[in-house]
């Protein structure tokens, strides 16, 4: 290299690193990323303990990473480059020909703790408890993953979880139901969650176990409210070639209606809501159109007067599932433990409901915090 070339290299490298660094620091910070559908790391709070253990600096590093100039461009380029260069696994997501699949299924935590919590809850509860562990797209489409990524499948995780319970808790085999429908559009292609149709397939079995006849599919009017939804797996890869998804809402024109939906928040406030919030289509996370499960506790009162009450303890999987239950109960309480900061009894008395359905995704089974609000307050 001649001296001139060396000088040009120095100027170019310093210009690129300096400019990108400067843009990262100076451009106004956003708190939420629409591309990744998550809150971004802000500048961490300065404290002695955070400085001492290094968490302040790791927070600072995360903040720099989250707000890095042209982050979306770089992350999406990563997916393109990596899938062309070597294995099609980018940021823990397998890029399949037709869909994205979470490739970190095998690394999930153990579900024993949550099983114990459910058993204790059921022991103190006066009504009947029903349990449905719902596989994610990684479970149902595990055969698309290379062998080494699917050695500890969701099927095995769900089986191990179910083996913890005796007959007093009624278990529903959502996995087999969904596995039979893999040719249909039962899971979003860019997300781990199911579609409205996937939820309906499981609803048919669940509602029979709960003692009702399912509403026929033909009675529903399906509205495609969005056809460009990019799900949580897209958020991780930002792989531009991934298929965008449709979001559907199911309306039963001749059936019961949700007369009131009230959201109860952690600070004690409550707010009136609707079963579907179409204004969310203009927001960063279009999936928020499914409002059940967006607040810690939601009480839905329907036009039915059968005096039947159901408590649903759920995570994101319940969001497009709960609307199908409207046709059978006069009141449905939707508990989202992930959103709760306190204990369950601070929000609702579970014994007011004669049945409880615990419907959680297989990806939440090993989440140690997931069902902690179900534990009773220590005296």
């Amino acid at each position: 290299m001649t001296r001139l070339i060396k000088k040009i290299t120095a100027v170019a490298a310093i210009a690129v690193t300096g400019t990108l660094g400067l843009l990262t620091v100076t451009v106004p910070k956003k708190t939420y990323s629409e591309n990744e559908n998550r809150m971004l790391q802000g500048i961490p709070q300065l404290s002695w303990s955070a400085l001492a253990d290094g968490s302040y600096f790791s927070g600072l590093s995360s903040c720099f990473t989250d707000h890095f100039a042209f982050r979306h461009f770089f992350v999406s380029s990563d997916a393109k480059l990596a899938s062309g260069m070597c294995e099609r696994v980018v940021n823990g997501v397998y890029i399949g020909n037709t869909r994205l699949i979470d490739a970190k299924v095998s690394e999930r935590g153990k579900s024993q703790l949550n099983a114990e919590r459910i058993k204790r809850f059921a022991g103190n509860y006066s009504g009947a408890v029903y349990l449905a562990a719902v596989p994610t797209s990684s479970g149902v489409y595990s055969s698309m993953l290379p062998a080494y990524l699917s050695y500890n499948t969701e099927k095995q995780q769900i089986d191990r979880f179910y083996a913890e319970f005796d007959r007093s808790i009624r278990k529903i085999d959502a996995y087999s139901i969904l596995k039979m429908q893999t040719d249909d559009y039962i899971f979003l292609r860019s997300d781990t969650k199911w579609t409205g149709y996937g939820a309906y397939c499981v609803y048919k079995t669940v509602i029979q176990k709960l003692g009702f006849l399912p509403s026929p599919y033909s009675k529903y009017t399906v509205r495609h409210v969005s056809d460009d939804y990019c799900g949580n797996l897209y958020n991780r890869t930002q792989y531009m070639k991934s298929n965008k998804d449709m979001l559907d809402i199911y309306e039963y024109s001749d059936g019961a209606e949700a007369e009131s939906c009230t959201c109860y928040y952690n600070n004690g406030d409550s707010k009136s809501a609707q079963l579907y919030d179409l204004s969310a289509l203009d927001s960063g996370d279009k999936y928020d159109i499914y409002t059940c499960g967006t607040c810690p506790f939601m009480r839905i009162r329907t036009s039915l007067n059968n005096d039947r009450k159901l408590l649903v303890i759920t995570d994101d999987m319940g969001r497009n599932f709960v609307p199908f239950l409207i046709q059978h109960y006069s009141e449905i309480g939707v508990v989202c433990p992930k959103k709760m900061t306190g204990k369950l009894e601070e929000y609702v008395n579970a014994d007011d409901y004669e049945q409880t359905l615990i419907l959680i995704g297989a990806d939440s089974l090993g989440d140690e915090d997931m069902l902690s609000p179900l534990e009773e307050e220590e005296e």
């Binding site: 600072l60 770089f74 696994v89």
Partner: protein
Amino acid sequence: MTYSSLIFIYGFLPLSLLIYHAAREKYRNAVLLGLSLIFCGFCGLKCLAFTVLDTAFNFLVGHIIDTHRVRKKSGTLPLLTGITANIAMLFVFRAADLAELREKIGLPEGVLPVGISLFTLSAVGYLIDIYSDRIRAESDPVRFGLYMLMFPRIIMGPVLRYDSFVKILSRRKCSLAETGTGMTIFVKGLAKKVLAADNLFMLYSAVRNVKSGELAAVNAWLGMIAYVLCLYFTVSGLTDMGIGLGRCFGMHFPRCFNYPLFVSKLRYFASRWHMQAVRWFRRYISSPLSAQSSVRWIKKLIFIATWGFFGFWYTFRAGGLIWGLLLGIGIVVERKFAKLKMLNATGIIVTFVFLTVSSVFLAGDNLSASIRYLGAMVGGNRMLADSLTVYLLRSYIIILLVSVYASTDLFRNMLLRSRKHKVNSVLSAATPAIVIVLLLVCTAFIAYGGASSLSPVTL
């Protein structure tokens, strides 16, 4: 903070270059030390305090040894104290079995003071050199602080003798051209780490995820070849980045790797792999001990044991020790057959196979896992290949072939031969563009997590 992180490349590096070059000549050492303390402080102030105290301790012990130069025997105690304290600290931080002790001291879990392995070697070498009258104790705490903590060499070296370091420091030449060369070497190292090592680590991880009883022989070989290549690209990538950074600040550090993997003899590997660190072990362990005996087999035993220590230093586990011992034994045995002409033709393959097989111990979590893995490599699971083999080959064949090519000196030799040809001038002219494109591609690969954190060893 690692070299291959966004905050380092786009935050710390340009800022430190700016501050350093803006500072007056006489303050540059102090500026560089200040920047190095900030770099080390990213592990937390607790770790930084350990690092600074350790540096101060070695500075003090160095002076105590120096004052006893005339009556050498009285310097032995401070020397032994210094060496014991340094090695004890290294064990406290790195040995897996001492996790409880670390917890009691209140050290954050999984956090190491940056470059603890490297600066322990530097410190011990410095104390021994004073004791053996090779150098005088440093009177300038800033210069000594730089020797121990300077961020361009703290992560992966090169491990230098104190006098060599001082020479490099005093012959510093800061210029835009030097920075250009430095950035080129830095980006080369970054590409080795991010593009080659990280992808090879994914291949190795893919194989490791398979239960050892179900592992087909070809997969086991693929996994271990990926591990060896990944180890090379990780360690040499990090040293390249360090050398490149040093160059940006005007310092010419010696290189640490010289295409060691595809060589016809194990002893060539030994003389080209992590050269400065290997030299440290030879200089301070093997040579002084060998000088005590004229018996050949004892000398050989010392040679093998030194390689064992080197391997142990990599992992602080029995597996690393065995890897080193196997290398030592391999070199000793090879010398016996050095005159065999057959080795000239088959040497590259034999050496690489030996390295691959011995690395099973370096890679394994424990001895039984390594033995099971070796069993799979020799077909103990009665499976030669399976569907995973096809998948892995299809996914990784390009990266494997490119990595094998890049770990040989073929490309360098081609450039050397083409010096008078046009192609060389074209490549030279394209260097700035190649550097920027590589930098941006590496950025894309680390943009999601913010850093390339996959590593086959923790040094």
